[in-house]
């Protein structure tokens, strides 16, 4: 099991530590609900250093990124970030990722911790462009600072102006350390992600400066459990739950990043075929009014007929209602349709709603 450079801090803070994607990670510090609300109402900090950073560099770096990802990376210029995915030839998803355009010859791909090795191998197999592919995941720490007060906080300790548009980044000094600061996150709130190198001492110094600056905002450290409830309230997909090699981006609601008119990318032909034949199922958001909560793996029915399965489910700490993402037969995937899920023997009704679950 690997540890991030913040591990000792997590232990000192009394975090509950779990094994996650090969790392010892904090799942909860104080209370999931308190941590969740800190992010929605003020500011919270996540250690997400387990995420992978893979650097692509070379004259044909853009051609390479275009081939392996479904979104159109040619739309990027230096300082921009794009949400994207990598697909197999059959349209199944290798991983979802962020593409950082450092220059037209250098990109940073941020991938899921559980997929770092798989993605790195996959990328190397597709390298017909002579680009350099470096997995620097162990070198980089990543902190996500999320919440309406994140900008006020971060501006206090950042040497450069943080007026960043959504999905843009700057490179500069923050907390005395050179870092990539992007306006990105997995919570649906105003927020920033900080990528930087250095040992435990550097990491702890950055963490301590953030928490010192965050005192006036009642900043809290936030664990993976609240990270999950926060992303689900917005309806963001989680690899391993809502998307994987058996699902394609079209049925997962990721058509908006899948540029089928792009010249060529791995999976394009299969996805075009799937689109022309029509989708067989779709990932839909379900809202539950009863006090019975949807959980991953529960079957979903329409008038007694099983038509799908829940891929992610929890109690929304903000709505205090059950929320879920579920794959259901296309015929029953329209907004407004009443479905039921089986909650250990009891039928509970759930309605297909619009994302996000929480009013933005």
């Amino acid at each position: 099991m690997k540890k991030t450079k913040f591990f000792n801090l997590h232990e000192k803070l009394g975090a509950k530590i779990v094994d996650f994607a090969g790392y010892k990670m904090p799942i909860q510090y104080s209370s999931i609900i308190a941590e969740h609300k800190a992010v929605r109402h003020s500011v919270g900090v996540f250690d997400v250093s387990h995420m992978g950073e893979i650097f692509i560099e070379g004259d044909r770096a853009l051609d390479f990124v275009q081939l392996i990802t479904v979104n159109d990376a040619s739309k990027l210029n230096a300082g921009r970030v794009q949400y994207s995915a990598m697909c197999y030839e059959d349209g199944g998803i290798v991983d979802d990722l962020l593409v950082y355009c450092i220059s037209d010859k250098k990109f940073m791909l941020v991938v899921n911790a559980s997929n770092i090795e798989k993605d790195f191998e996959w990328m190397n197999k597709q390298n017909h462009f002579g680009v350099s592919i470096k997995n620097l995941s162990d070198d980089y720490s990543l902190l996500a600072i999320q919440g309406p007060n994140s900008k006020l906080l971060l501006q206090k300790i950042c040497d450069f102006n943080l007026d960043l548009e959504y999905y843009h980044f700057k490179v500069g000094k923050c907390c005395g350390v050179e870092m990539i600061v992007s306006r990105t996150g997995y919570t649906g709130e105003l927020g920033y992600e900080l990528y930087f190198q250095g040992d435990e001492e550097v990491a702890e110094s950055v963490w301590n400066q953030i928490f010192e600056a965050g005192k006036e905002f009642n900043i809290l450290p936030v664990g993976l459990a609240a990270r999950d409830s926060l992303r689900l309230e917005i309806g963001y997909c989680l690899y391993g739950n809502d998307i994987d090699q058996t699902t394609n981006p079209l049925e997962a609601g990721l058509s908006w990043i899948t540029k089928l008119n792009k010249q060529n990318f791995i999976g394009k032909e299969a996805l075009l075929k799937i689109k022309n034949l029509g989708l067989s199922r779709r990932l839909v958001p379900l809202l539950v009014e009863e006090k019975a909560f949807p959980r991953q793996g529960y079957e979903v029915s329409h008038q007694g007929k099983i038509i799908g399965k829940i891929s992610s489910g929890t109690v929304s700490p903000i709505l205090e209602k059950g929320i879920a993402l579920a794959y259901v037969d296309y015929d029953y995937s329209k907004e407004g349709i009443e479905l039921t899920f089986n909650n250990r023997g009891k039928d509970v009704s759930a309605q297909i709603v619009k994302l996000p679950f929480v009013n933005r």
Partner: protein
Amino acid sequence: MNIPENLKYTVDHEWISIEGNVGTIGITEYAQGELGDIVFVDINPKLESLTKGAIFGTIEAVKTVSELFAPCNGKVLEINSALADSPDLINRSAYEDGWIIKIQIEDSENLSSLLSAEEYRTQIGK
């Protein structure tokens, strides 16, 4: 880990305090910690009796859901009504304010199969 000596325990992480033939049942400090923030305790308000080993309710936490198993047979005397508005009482006070159900114990001779504090501590490895 707080595991009071004066209580009895089950392998399913319930505790029971026994006073005369009245048993008060809840879940352990360890169990509430594993569950995380508890948001709903689901017990049929018309529940009349418990059967040893049978499910008598569920606990919904943000992260997961867990079932409640009866430590012994008994007639239901009272369900903790405070949990309806404050299910997190279990998180804050697993052995006191967060009690779940009170019963009149019907098979006191079977109580010997319950775990002592020490046996329970060994079981959870703390």
